[in-house]
């Protein structure tokens, strides 16, 4: 039994079958990549995991508990954090404030009425946030408003926020899209380091094969809403069906 079990999930948008009978099992503490051409339904699948969409049929179990019908913040508090395909951060707040919000959410839960003390006097939060910014190379941008950052920086900001929550399952939707090569490599190193340091399961959607093959232990190929194959990176590389459906396309593009 994996920590994440997706069974027979279907999702339709009007006449479009975005997900058709998706089965997916992600083993605990592994890194599982989901790849597939544009419009394959990868983001839709993640949406079904975090409570943004409810599948028409099927079940999604995290650590033995169903996530269906739960609100996004409840699912996050169960231990699932998500990085979005287009960065979702607090644009008119500073880098440090963004980080602190994530740290507060992890420490205090979904709601805490903490209205009189100064936020800057929460030593443990400030320290943790600063530490995270250091490790993400964002420390010198501490007081910058995140809206004015580059796309790659926004992504690193979002990844840092998700990591600071110490999730058990981290969902990454094209985390390195829009990043410079150096930042992409930094991100790969960081994710590897995190995986060595603590127990964390990662499910990653990625078009950049360099990232996929550096991180993933298993790969699922999704095409037109249905898993085509699931196997180890070595096997996937040589798989004829995959070349046809996906890799061929990616190399052309």
């Amino acid at each position: 039994m994996g920590i994440l079990e997706v069974k027979n999930v279907n999702k339709r948008f009007g006449g479009l079958q975005a997900l058709g009978d998706v089965n997916l099992s992600v083993a605990e503490n592994s890194c599982h990549a989901i790849i597939g051409p544009n419009g394959a339904g990868k983001s839709t699948l993640l949406n079904c995991l975090v409570g943004k969409l409810i599948p028409d049929t099927g079940s999604v179990m995290f650590d033995g508990q169903s996530v269906l019908g739960r609100k996004p913040y409840e699912i996050n508090q169960m231990g699932i954090s998500r990085v979005f395909q287009t960065p979702e951060i607090f644009g008119d707040l500073t880098v440090m404030e963004n980080m602190m919000i994530a740290c507060f959410a992890q420490r205090d839960g979904a709601f805490k009425m903490h209205a009189i003390g100064s936020m800057w006097k929460e030593k443990d939060i400030v320290e943790k946030a600063e530490h995270m910014l250091e490790s993400m190379n964002l420390a010198e941008k501490r007081d910058m408003h995140t809206a004015s950052m580059s796309r790659g920086d926004k992504r690193r900001m979002e990844i840092a926020m998700c990591l600071s929550q110490e999730p058990r399952l981290l969902l990454l939707d094209e985390p390195t899209a829009g990043m410079a090569r150096a930042d992409t490599n930094n991100t790969i190193d960081l994710l590897k380091k995190i995986k060595e340091e603590r127990d964390i399961t990662i499910a990653i959607i990625e078009h950049d094969m360099h990232v996929v093959f550096s991180l993933a232990e298993r790969i699922t190929v999704l095409a037109q809403g249905t898993p085509l194959v699931e196997d180890t990176p070595e096997k996937i590389k040589g798989h004829p069906k995959v070349r046809e459906a996906y890799l061929g396309e990616a190399q052309v593009a």
């Binding site: 609100k71 979702e88 607090f90 507060f104 979904a110 709601f111 805490k112 209205a115 003390g117 929550q165």
Partner: protein, 400 residues
């Protein structure tokens, strides 16, 4: 000190000094001079400045921090006013129970309305709050004032009558709102040369309460709770996917700002024991929105400035009539005088709304951050000049 940073503390200090010295500051013109009508240092108006300041500070906690634009906050103001007058009728003229009850009742009322209206956001939330406030107005104006059950006294307004119980009233207490015997109308007049300054008990009580409210608002702004409220405004989606439930945060902000509004309403009754339904009308709700935006939504001091400016216009500009204009422009040749007066007249007196509207438009278009942004720009201009001067003499000094 007080758990504030140096910067916040000096802001609080400045506001404290300004409010305490307001009777001097607002009366810059000698009583007999032609400019005396621009003096705002009389009790009635000064009380309005601080009371509506409280209203706007509270409104800003909701609108400035979370971005939820309520068009119904006057309902809480009205509820506070009625609660306070009821305490006068039942207990007596001491203002403390009335003020306390106005905070409690408006808080409960805000909880009820908040639970319902906060199910929606954006324009739908605004419309819902507007609808609720108009319903409250209708209730106060007619429904809740029938002979069998008269809670609001309808069009006349709720006031204290001679046959009201006033259980704790005694002959040695003033027959008007008072604080342990100190009448809210008690005014000490001081004449200095051509100037007259008025120190009014009601004003000082309201001013001290406003300072406390302002202090609490600073604490809220700087707290983790305040950070979460700003997160609501910035990106609710990210907030939810970060494990934060935005609903109780917005509800808490709504209730707090409702309590501020109720307190302001209670104080209005405390300085003038008459509560009318018109306090709940949508124009009153719109006014606090204008105050907040004019001063600078989301800034600490902006809403107070906005409240002051609007109340100043309402009370001072509206007094300028044709004969006043004639006395101003009398020095001009007759034809020109009439011409100038014809041009200026629509903007003063009953037309004060027109001037205010123009100012509001100019501020929103050119200073989206409100008057505070204007102040900051001017400040930067000065500092910029200083920095460039310093830069010429000593290039090492970094420009800010």
């Amino acid at each position: 000190m007080f758990g504030l940073t140096k910067k916040d503390l000096s802001l609080l200090g400045i506001v404290a000094i300004l409010t305490m010295a307001a009777p001097f500051i607002l009366n810059p013109f000698p009583t007999e001079s032609a400019m005396a009508q621009f003096n705002a240092g009389y009790p009635d108006l000064m009380q309005k400045f601080v009371i509506f300041g409280i209203f706007a500070i509270g409104f800003n906690i909701l609108f400035g921090l979370t971005g939820y634009l309520s068009f119904g906050h006057a309902a809480f103001l009205g509820v506070g006013s009625y609660s306070c007058v009821w305490m006068f009728k039942l207990l007596g003229y001491n203002v403390l129970p009335g003020i306390a009850l106005s905070i409690v009742v408006s808080g409960l009322f805000a909880l009820l309305i908040g639970v319902i209206t906060l199910r929606r956001s954006g324009i739908y939330f605004s419309i819902l709050t507007l609808a609720f406030a108009q319903m409250s107005f209708a209730l106060a104006y007619s429904v809740l004032s029938n002979p069998k059950f008269n809670l609001t006294n309808g069009e006349t307004g709720l006031q204290v009558y001679a046959d009201d119980p006033q259980w704790f009233h005694s002959a040695n207490l003033p027959d008007l709102p008072h604080l342990f015997g100190l009448s809210m109308r008690a005014t000490h007049r001081m004449t200095l040369g051509g100037w007259e300054f008025q120190f009014n008990a009601g004003y000082y009580m309201c001013a001290i309460i406003m300072l406390v409210c302002f202090y609490l608002a600073i604490r809220i702004f700087r707290s983790p709770f305040g950070l979460m409220l700003r997160a609501v405004k910035s990106n609710q989606q990210r907030m939810n996917y970060t494990g934060l439930n935005s609903r109780p945060y917005t509800l808490a902000a709504f209730v707090i700002s409702g309590m501020y509004a109720g307190l302001a309403g209670g104080l209005l009754s405390a300085v003038d024991p008459l509560a009318g339904a018109e306090r709940m009308q949508w124009t009153a709700s719109g006014e606090v929105v204008l105050m907040t935006i004019l001063g600078g939504a989301g800034t600490l001091i902006g809403p107070v400035l906005g409240a002051g400016l609007i109340k100043y216009f309402e009370n001072i500009f509206s007094k300028i009539n044709e004969s006043v204009l004639h006395s101003w422009f009398g020095f001009l040749p007759d034809g020109l005088e009439d011409f100038v007066i014809t041009i200026v007249y629509p903007f003063v007196g009953k037309g004060w709304h027109l001037t205010l509207g123009l100012i509001f438009m100019l501020v929103v278009i050119f200073l989206p951050g409100g008057l505070i942004e204007g102040g900051q720009r001017i400040g930067r201009l000065f500092r910029g000049k200083k920095a460039s001067k310093a830069g010429k003499s000593a290039t090492t000094e970094p420009a800010e």
